[in-house]
Symmetry: C2
Subunit: 307 residues, 2 copies
Amino acid sequence: MSLLVVGSVAYDGLETPHGKVDRILGGAATYIALAASHFTQPRIVAVVGDDFAPEDEALLVRRGVDLTGLERVPGKCFFWQGVYAADMNSRTTLRTDLNVFAGFDPKVPDTYRDSAFVLLGNIQPALQASVRAQVASPRFVGGDTMNFWINDFREELLKTIAEWDLLMINDSESVELSGETNLRKAAARIHEMGPRWVVIKRGEYGAVLFEKGTGHFAAPGYLLDQVKDPTGAGDCFAGGFFGYLAEAQARSGDAPLSGESLRRAVIYGSVLGSFCCEEFGPRRFETLTRQEIDARYEEFVAFTRFA
Amino acid sequence: MSLLVVGSVAYDGLETPHGKVDRILGGAATYIALAASHFTQPRIVAVVGDDFAPEDEALLVRRGVDLTGLERVPGKCFFWQGVYAADMNSRTTLRTDLNVFAGFDPKVPDTYRDSAFVLLGNIQPALQASVRAQVASPRFVGGDTMNFWINDFREELLKTIAEWDLLMINDSESVELSGETNLRKAAARIHEMGPRWVVIKRGEYGAVLFEKGTGHFAAPGYLLDQVKDPTGAGDCFAGGFFGYLAEAQARSGDAPLSGESLRRAVIYGSVLGSFCCEEFGPRRFETLTRQEIDARYEEFVAFTRFA
């Protein structure tokens, strides 16, 4: 089924212990769409400047991403530059130029209004709410956020996520949002804010999915031989997660989403996040195949089985 | 089957964000034996002073621990005092009094010499080797170590673990021992040092079991509502792991240990480690039952299932 994605399409300057690139395609919507494109044809709502390169657009087109909602305005694309610590578990921002993103007012094209799944990437909560409101009657709405919105736009954020089916967040953000350091307690507080489902991402250690009043599902992380660049891994997790759900729902028709589907979505999310780390920026998506994705899913089955 | 355990029987002074106790039973052999006692009758090799309290001995006896190898000498028990950080992922040692432990020369009683499983708790590598040498023909030998032995007794440690079937170690120690920050690469280096099996413990995030030339098994951690005191959790993991193996081997007779058994041992280890954190020191073992242990094992089955 159809998946609408909103977020940034940007350029990044990246430095990790394994190398340095001055300028490479980036942005949450980019990574989400590339990951989701292996399951469905994601529809992007984003804004780019006149420096958006034809070869980068070509990658998205080749992956079947619908660019009807990609607004093009005079100026430059959002640019972010950062450097990762030796263990790559933390990073320092060196530069953030909002550029055309500063005036982003997302407009959902008519052809997107029937979208069944809506994934609201990490942007200002009021804009996430605006995109949600422009979709007629989505089956499943979820999104991401970050410490900046949690701390400085708290009321706006709480009002926005109250309408969501699922919130996806990393562990430190779950503490900031809920005021609880214990993972179970943090998830319980976030359920009270609205979302029936909460996914807490724990970086290399995996992810935990909580369903309100039911229980949880815990997945360990995939052990890569080498992490070249973790940029975009969280967004690829989200893209794999929502992409898989949209595909599964297309198969099951009108049946409600099952907890089993959401568990498998966590694994597909983990698979896509792990592939993302194998190359700088989104380069791994130039060659990644569905066959490789399914093979890694089977690896997860094998390395978690014990009963 | 029979399980021999060597390590410390000690007293600890503990402070965590949830409370403070000035003096409570502790030590690696204590925690290992209490955890393993739910599966087998562990045989302890350790030393205590004349301050070893009758009520603490009574707990071990009540749990069926064989104390034939518990040497009693004049002086005081090993004493350790520490305080945990707010998130309990790190701790500061305030005091270490070796006392009678300084002259510990482990002697394996004749009645222990036929032990099938040998678990060498965290003590000086030469003493671990001495215990191993005093057991006639064990089926499975494994042990633990720590940064002090890795850095200051490296050659002695390498000679000792070369004889082991399994090394159990935490993630930061695996980096120090192997020189590799990547978990897969660290395990591969440790396989080269001898052990066919390597378990890398990741605290609250779970544990990973590697089998040389075969693959790995990853288990997420159990999500507790509250961690009161993590002291002894790693030792309880080891005790649950080896206790379960000894029990499983007793059922399967002469069949070689299977990878499946070792995977289930990781889960039982995780279960025992999680119970340990629920109360200060070893207090949880005053009431813990096999029924509670098996129920938590089934929780692991439920919260990790997706295929």
